[in-house]
């Protein structure tokens, strides 16, 4: 996890506040550093968080979209979670994994209660995970081969797998595995999700599915003294310019998104802080390998050589994103970004590759982009220009996201496209399976790419316990993918958010969510 912004945040905060306040405020972000200076967290206040989309549903098993997920994880919490570095940590329960990797035993922490004051029992956990397992078409399914899930004690839950599956804990840490009361605490299912009860730090207060949502603190929260804030408001601000202006004017205390282009402006304003965390996603070029041009590996390799990834990262990331030389983002374990696998920017090599293909004289093709991501339009133009150098004539087609989904995802009706591959968990298996499994719903991220060698290695990666051996497998996969080039990772964009200078311990996670229970506002 890179925290380049924290250093910058320090400098800015130091200008705005007294040195002591700034130090205690920022240092407390690291879990180890408790505030010794006496300027600890202050309780009270309400934090208003500006967001670009409303929360439309709170059903954690069915309605995981980015806008819903970041509200759902304030209400429901899983047995295990991850820290700001993406490392798996115990959350509601401690865990133990058997030597053969088949049995997972979870022991609930003492005194974990739901927001209505009732104690969490193993039966609640069994009910929650079972509901998720049985849910057809869950947005974030448990891929692990779960055999049984049982309450095996007063506070103990045992889950057994049919075969070893190393990414299991990281899957459990996802948005969809929060714990809710057994049988919805007696409520009707639909009613329950309109006024849900969970163990999370925040309890739903008021909610307009087309507008704002507000939370009050969970008085029964299991982490003593937290949350520090009394309330949290998700304020819906549809326009990105408006979002940033409201932050500058102090109408909101934090904003969910700062466009990379504006990061310097936010970071350079003494009244604000730029919050930056390495993300779990990769902007990529994807090829439809069913297309006659892109079925040819030499064409794909030629394009990989023809694209200047450093240039793109600089032009569109404004120093906040990292050049991608491999598929797995650097904030996830076993990223091969430093291994030099990515095909280097080299126009001569590109021409040589193209000469080996069936289309040695070049060809005309269409690059599909979605218009909800302005940076893609920029990247597309750079790609267009760079491919012109090897006689590939690119027409850019910018599509409304709903149309993009229909054309690209549902019908595979495209030549090549720009998109963002997002990992949901800090394990390399997620993003790799998602982009290489042609039998899965995403059909290798709609590229239809399939390679027996890669598939075999992916299988091995899932079942091998963490360690150097597993690392070797994932390095090998990333090398193969770089060479076969069904997609070209371009850059790993950072998660960029902004707060006013009075907000402290704003813990931005690599999945883009924020731990607001740690946050406090200086009075």
């Amino acid at each position: 996890m890179k925290f380049t912004a924290r250093a910058r945040g320090w400098r800015i905060a130091a200008v705005a506040l007294t040195a002591a306040l700034a130090l205690s405020g920022c240092a407390a972000e690291a879990p180890a550093a408790s505030s010794g200076s006496g300027e600890g967290p202050v309780s009270g206040g309400t934090l208003t968080f500006g967001r670009a989309a409303s929360v439309t549903d709170l059903d954690l098993h069915q309605q995981i979209t980015a806008n819903n997920a970041f509200a759902i994880d304030k209400i429901f919490e899983p047995l295990v979670s991850f820290d700001a570095d993406g490392k798996i940590i115990a959350w509601l329960a401690d865990y133990e994994v058997s030597g053969d990797g088949l049995t997972y035993t979870f022991t609930l922490h003492d005194g974990v209660k739901f927001s209505d004051g009732t104690e969490v029992t193993p039966e609640d956990v069994v009910f929650s995970i079972t509901r998720h397992l049985e849910m057809e078409g869950s947005p974030l399914p448990i891929e692990a081969p779960v055999d049984t899930i049982e309450a095996t004690g007063d506070r103990e839950i045992t889950i057994t797998l049919k075969s070893a599956y190393t990414p299991f804990l990281s899957e459990l840490a996802g948005f969809s595995n929060g714990v809710l009361p057994k049988d919805f605490g007696g409520a009707n299912e639909a009613e329950f999700f309109k006024s849900p009860v969970g163990t999370g730090p925040w309890v739903l207060d008021e909610w307009d599915p087309n507008g704002d949502l507000s939370f009050v603190k969970n008085e029964h929260y299991w982490q003593d003294g937290k949350p520090y804030l009394d309330g949290l408001v998700y304020k819906f601000v549809a326009d990105p310019t408006q979002l940033q202006q409201q932050l500058v004017a102090g109408q909101v205390d934090a904003v969910e998104q700062v466009p990379a282009a504006n990061s310097a402006e936010v970071g350079g304003n003494a009244a604000l802080q730029l919050i930056e965390a390495a993300g779990w996603s990769a902007d990529q070029v994807f090829f439809n390998t069913l297309n006659e041009h892109f079925a040819d590996e030499h064409v794909r390799r030629a394009i990989a050589h023809a694209i200047d990834r450093d240039g793109i990262a600089q032009a569109t990331g404004f120093g906040t994103s990292e050049v991608a030389n491999a598929l797995v983002p650097t904030a996830i374990e076993y990223s091969a970004n430093d291994q030099g696998y990515g095909l280097a920017y080299d126009v001569d090599a590109a021409k040589a590759e193209l000469a080996k293909s069936k289309f040695a004289d070049g060809f005309a093709t269409t690059l599909a982009i979605r218009n909800d991501r302005p940076e893609f339009a920029q990247i597309a133009q750079i790609v267009q220009e760079q491919l012109a150098a090897i006689d590939i004539d690119v027409t850019i087609e910018s599509l409304d996201y709903a149309v993009f989904k229909e054309r690209v995802y549902a019908n595979l009706d495209y030549d090549f496209m720009l998109n963002n591959g997002q990992a949901d968990a800090p394990d390399p298996n997620g993003i790799i399976s998602f982009q290489t499994d042609v039998t899965g719903f995403s059909k290798s991220y709609w590229t239809s790419f399939s390679d027996p060698e890669v598939n075999k290695l992916v299988e091995q990666g899932r079942t091998t316990a963490d360690g150097p051996e597993r690392e070797k497998i994932y390095f090998k996969i990333q090398k193969l993918l770089a060479e076969k080039a069904p997609f070209i990772p371009l850059s790993f964009p950072a998660n960029l958010q902004g707060t006013t200078a009075s907000v402290h311990d704003y813990t931005l996670l690599p999945n883009g969510s924020v731990r607001f229970q740690d946050a406090w506002i200086a009075q």
């Binding site: 057809e136 869950s138 599915p209 310019t241 979002l243 004017a249 549902a410």
Partner: protein, 350 residues
């Protein structure tokens, strides 16, 4: 949106009858008013009905032509074909088109509703009504601002024809006409909210006063785009009336200048401008919907943008329908106002 009795600039003189304002020998004021109301009601039915039928048909079938599958937008990327089919069936999208249309129309007639939102499950009528007060607030304020700006500007220009004020009033609105509402909104935000800090940069502050204060800039942005054609029209009409014979007669009779201006000149000149305003109602409502997004206000316009993006058809249809109704009603109201202001009708009543 053509309504009988609307006229654009210049084709209607205040003194000229337009045919629908009652015959010359109306007997008593009460009867005259009743008659006018009756005619208005008849006209309402005669104009609203065809417009509504047109809107309902257009809204239903045009949206069907937009690419993008609402079921896919709701279920996300992992949906299986079986799930998609099931949801489409639940949403009634697999029924024959004629039956879907029938259900759609029946819902409008019986419940005044175009169905539940596909994304939030909330009834469209409720979703719109919840957001309507804010949007109507902007419309109402914008109308007030537009009138408050138009009248003095046009008067100033007409009073010293060809002078400095006249030039300014003629040039500035020309610039104003070229600026889209969202751009005017951004400029207002930068100057009055960010630089001067007089208003919030966006959103709606709590409390009635806070709400009003938050709506000033958005309403001003809409009004500024609305004013130029109105000022032009009113100025032109004023200039014509100022030189009219009856004004000279009044002056000669020693009627005070102020009375001449407010009672006679302005009232006479206002009529075509009010008619023009009626024509611009659709623009006013459209501008309000756009300006909401610029100011981060969660009104009907923002709801419309959200719903279009997520292919939430019932909500888009509902908003289109309600806006069409609003345009027709306001147009009729403007028309009624014109009738009320008409000097001949007024003369008979007093």
């Amino acid at each position: 949106m053509s309504v009988e009795g609307q006229h654009t600039v210049g084709d209607d003189r205040p003194q000229g009858g337009t045919g629908h304002r009652g015959s010359a020998d109306a007997h008593t004021p009460a009867r005259s008013v009743a008659r006018t109301l009756g005619r208005l009601l008849g006209r309402t039915v005669a104009t609203v009905l065809p417009v509504m039928i047109g809107v309902v048909v257009a809204v239903f079938f045009l949206l069907r032509l937009v690419p993008g599958d609402p079921a896919a937008m709701i279920l996300g990327d992992r949906a299986t074909p079986a799930q998609l089919d099931r949801l489409r069936e639940e949403m009634g999208l697999t029924l024959p088109l004629a039956e879907q249309f029938g259900n759609f129309v029946w819902g409008i007639i019986t419940r005044f509703d175009t169905g539940d939102s596909l994304i939030t499950g909330v009834s469209t009528r409720e979703a719109i009504l919840a957001k309507a007060p804010i949007s109507l607030g902007i419309v109402a304020l914008a109308v007030i601002f537009a009138v408050a700006l138009t009248v003095p500007l046009a008067l100033a220009a007409a009073r010293n024809r060809g002078g400095f004020a006249d030039q300014v009033v003629r040039i500035i609105p020309t610039i104003g006409m070229g600026m889209p509402t969202f751009w005017v909104g951004l400029l207002l935000i930068i100057v009055f909210a960010v630089q001067l800090g007089w208003f919030p940069v966006g959103g709606v502050a709590p409390g009635p006063l806070g709400t009003l204060w938050s709506l000033v800039l958005p309403a001003a942005a809409v009004a500024i785009s609305l004013v130029p054609p109105l000022v032009r029209s009113l100025r032109a009409q004023l200039l014509e009336v100022v030189d009219a014979d009856f004004v000279t007669t009044l002056r000669a009779a020693g009627v005070p200048e102020r009375t001449i201006l407010t009672r006679h000149i302005l009232r006479g000149a206002a009529l075509p401008t009010i008619a023009l305003f009626g024509v611009n109602v659709a623009y006013l409502i459209g501008g309000t919907l756009v300006v909401e997004k610029v100011f981060g206000i969660g009104g009907v316009g923002t709801l419309l943008f959200q719903s279009i993006g997520s292919r939430d058809f019932p909500v888009v249809q509902g908003i289109a329908l309600y806006c069409a109704i609003a345009v027709v009603l306001i147009t009729l109201a403007v028309d009624a106002l014109a009738t009320w202001i008409d000097p001949r009708l007024r003369g008979r009543q007093s």
